[in-house]
């Protein structure tokens, strides 16, 4: 079966406090990088088998739903490619 690699981003919902982002923001500013905001999330690179690109996309989204915590996170399927 062909292999696909999905890049899933899992990020905090808007309005949910991101202490990690705030700390990074503070340090960037101290180091002379004036930034307006920083949000920190997770990126997952998942390699898995699927028959078609369509099936791969479905699977990737299903995994995103499983791995993101619906109470505070949202996921985006950032990229999906067939591996050689």
């Amino acid at each position: 079966m062909p292999k696909y690699q999905a890049t899933l981003l899992i990020e905090l919902k808007e309005g949910i406090l991101d202490p990690q982002g705030r700390a990074v923001e503070g340090v960037l500013k101290d180091l002379g990088h004036p930034v307006d905001s920083v949000r920190v999330g997770k990126v997952l690179e998942i390699v898995f088998p699927a028959e078609t690109l369509l099936e791969a996309e479905e699977k990737a989204r299903a995994m995103g739903r499983l791995l993101a915590n619906p109470v505070m996170e949202v996921f985006t399927l950032e990229a999906l490619k067939e591996l050689p």
Binding site: G15, I16, L17, D18, P19, R22, A23, G26, N69, P70, V71, M72
Partner: protein, 734 residues
């Protein structure tokens, strides 16, 4: 307005009461103020009349209930502030953040008293361990506590944990914190007239709006979208806020301190004003925010974490601002105390609410009629089935039952040593002991409660909770000084729920009076139920005691050849016991009787033996009875023991099991050197207390001689059985 009141769940008669107290209809903002301030969580509407009966006085008490935390003197000018707090509902919605913010909240309560937080304990209740959701909640909660406590640098030194069917949909997550202070640094939530009130810490966002009101409602069937925004804890900011606040107190810059907990600015400011006999004018435009376009209700009700209010001493305002600036935190005046006793709120230059502080603070209280649930009575009075099983097989199984199994997999995730004060770490003693550096003073603490006893007999269960927590503190050698109680129960609006609340408090009062240990702080969390079932009435009791650290006991056998004694009656009961549950799946029967006078004397006796240096090893008998307690004493150092037990003549097999595994209070195992045996028994006889020499320490096995033959286990084998269950769950993936 009346329809709005209905929509947000204010009962009709309370709405009428509000209009009457105001002499007019409330406006929209005011209605929300009442909504949160008159919630059960903030107002203790059902529990206040009952809480009044608890003894609150004692020689050691510096501050009783009513402040952010209770405070007791421990000697040499030192005092300990402590309190327990629940975070059940947020933890059910989001276990990690719910538990983390619970820890942050209780730490701020302790700081508000001018104390440096030095220890945390967690009291946790979940549904059966076999249930996937319980495991998910357990793991999330433990990670959340570790996340916050470890990072802020307050060691988590103890706790207790039970799994019970009754918590399946409604876990309990209570956190207790202890703080150390010099008596002269004690601060209260107070301000004098005309003082600015500063807001310090994190900026305000839309998190947890309505949380206080929400925490007190039955878990609703709402869709996820309707849930209030999850509050996220920031232990890093919490640490900065803690250091800045303590520095300000140390430098004598503030006259009053108050944390912002449930109901945020509304509750902290209106209560501060009420306690000071004053009013307060709050200017919402000065509140630091992190989100745009926040309206007055959102600003007033937000439960964003890591915020405090401080009242500077006259002329010290600049210095206060300077301290917070150094720690990189907002610290701005947002309000001012005023002579009119009202809570006045300005938004964009206009008064959007003006309510008498008393009207907000003194919610109506309810006294109801309670009635015992006949099903509970049936279970308690039910004759127990005859039990027959091989004790040789029972012990390892019992040790592996989730309620007895080793908690190591949990406390290993908590930094239990940061601060270099922890002298008795988790797993080494029945209570944790913290050292007051520079002195010989030690602070012992433990939280305890048994849901089976409390479910079957709420009054007796509450008595057991206090007795056991005190016993745990006594067996390390400390004198219990006072306690904090976390009352977690079902809805008081049903006669059965109200009955349990009444009985729980009656039990606490009785035990409190008899043991001479007053309550100094506590927390009430009602409406813990789901799908109409009440949780078992759960009064988590956290006791604090004091000792001379040169004279303290641990629970593990350390030297071979020491004599093992049992202090207390040689008996055990099966009602409500773990062994009954293990063998029959039943939670039934009458929980063990408790003679409080005897309990007190047994505790005094063990403290005396420890203080005299006669024993350094002691452990109380709890769930799993005599054999479980003996096994637990072999674990810390891997040293075995041989004991002989007596069965009385022609007992039925159940009687035999009751002796070995049955439960009963007022019993303590301890060891003495052979050369101290005589003096020890002499003293016990002088005190007129029952005791018996059971055997001796030594070897790699736990060996029990019974009239029916010899039982024997390798310590290693029991240890493995005991450690496995929680290790598998916490270290595994599913």
């Amino acid at each position: 307005m009346e329809t709005l009141a209905q929509e947000i769940g204010i009962p009709e008669e309370e709405y009428r009461e509000i209009t009457q107290r105001l002499g007019r209809e409330p406006n929209r903002v005011e209605l929300f103020l009442f909504k949160v301030m008159w919630s059960e969580h903030c107002a203790y509407k059902n529990s206040r009349p009952l809480l009044k009966q608890l003894p609150k006085e004692g020689e050691a008490v510096l501050q009783g209930p009513g402040e952010n935390a209770g405070v007791v003197r421990i000697g040499e000018g030192w005092a300990v502030a402590f309190k327990i707090e629940s975070h059940n509902h947020p933890s059910a919605v989001e276990p990690f953040q719910g538990a983390a913010t619970g820890v942050g909240g209780i730490i701020r309560d302790i700081m508000s008293m001018g104390a440096r937080p030095i220890a945390l304990l967690d009291s946790l209740r979940f549904g059966p361990l076999g249930d996937a959701r319980s495991r998910y909640l357990l793991k999330g909660v433990v990670s959340g506590i570790a996340h916050y406590g470890n990072a802020i640098g307050v060691p988590t030194v103890g706790g207790d944990l039970y799994f019970h069917e009754g918590y399946r949909e409604n876990p309990l997550v209570n956190a207790m914190c202890l703080g150390l202070l010099r008596e002269e640094h004690l601060r209260r939530s107070q301000a004098s007239l005309g003082r600015p009130i500063y807001y310090a810490g994190a900026k305000t966002g839309r998190d947890g709006i309505g949380g206080a009101a929400f925490a007190s409602r039955e878990l609703s069937e709402d869709k996820e979208e309707d849930r209030p925004a999850v509050q996220v804890g920031d232990p890093f900011l919490g640490k900065l806020l803690m250091e800045a606040t303590l520095e300000a107190i140390e430098k004598d810059l503030v006259e009053g301190v108050q944390d912002m907990g449930a109901a945020g600015l509304t509750s902290s400011l209106s209560e501060l004003a009420f306690k000071s006999g004053l009013g307060v004018e709050l200017d919402l435009d000065r509140v630091p925010t992190r989100e745009r376009n926040m309206g007055p209700i959102e600003l007033l009700l937000s439960e964003s974490q890591e915020r405090m209010v401080l009242v500077p001493k006259e002329g010290r305002e600049r210095e206060l601002e300077e301290v917070f600036r150094k720690w990189g935190l907002d610290c701005v005046p947002v309000a001012r105390t005023i002579p009119e006793r009202v809570f006045r709120v300005l938004f964009r230059g206009e008064v959007v609410a003006e309510v008498p502080t008393e009207a907000l603070a003194e919610a109506p209280t309810y006294v109801r009629i309670g009635r015992e649930d006949p099903e509970i009575r049936r279970l308690r009075e039910m004759p127990l089935p005859p039990l027959a099983a091989n004790p040789q097989e029972i012990l390892p199984q019992l040790l592996a039952s989730p309620n007895l199994a080793s908690r190591e997999a949990i406390y290993e995730r908590y930094d239990h040593q940061v601060g270099t004060r922890t002298t008795l770490v988790p797993g080494k003693g029945d209570a944790a002991v913290l050292w007051v550096k520079g002195t010989h003073l030690g602070i012992a603490t433990k939280v305890d409660q048994n849901p089976r006893y409390s479910r079957l007999h709420p009054r007796l269960g509450a008595m057991h909770a206090l007795a056991e927590a005190c016993r745990n503190v006594s067996v390390v050698g400390a004198k219990p000084l006072a306690y904090t109680d976390g009352l977690n129960l079902g809805s008081p609006e049903t006669p059965e729920g109200y009955f349990e609340l009444q009985e729980t408090l009656a039990g606490l009062r009785e035990a409190s009076e008899a043991l001479g240990v007053p309550v100094v702080s506590g927390n009430v969390s009602l409406y813990n139920e789901s799908g109409g079932r009440r949780i078992p009435p759960t009064a988590m009791v956290g006791v604090v005691g004091v000792l001379d650290i040169r004279r303290r006991a641990e629970m593990g056998f350390r030297r071979p050849g020491e004599v093992i004694l049992l202090l207390g009656e040689e008996k055990g009961e099966l009602g409500g016991s773990e062994v009954l549950y293990l063998l029959s799946g039943l939670e039934a029967g009458h929980p063990p009787r408790l003679d409080l006078e005897q309990e007190k004397r047994v505790q005094e006796a063990i403290r005396e033996l420890i203080a005299l240096g006669l024993t350094r090893t002691a452990h109380d008998l709890a769930e799993g009875g005599l054999l479980a307690a003996l096994a637990e004493m072999t674990f810390p150092y891997g040293l075995g023991a041989t004991v002989e037990v007596r069965t009385r003549g022609s007992e039925p097999p159940s009687g035999h099991l009751a002796l070995l595994f049955g439960e009963a209070p007022s019993r303590i195992l301890f060891t003495v050197d052979k050369e101290h045996l005589k003096e020890t028994t002499f003293r016990l006889e002088e005190m007129g207390l029952p005791y018996r020499v059971l055997g001796e320490t030594g070897g790699h096995t736990l060996t029990v001689l019974t009239p029916d033959g010899v039982l024997e286990w390798e310590v290693e084998e029991l240890l493995a059985a005991w450690k496995r269950p929680l290790r598998e769950v916490l270290d595994g993936q599913a």
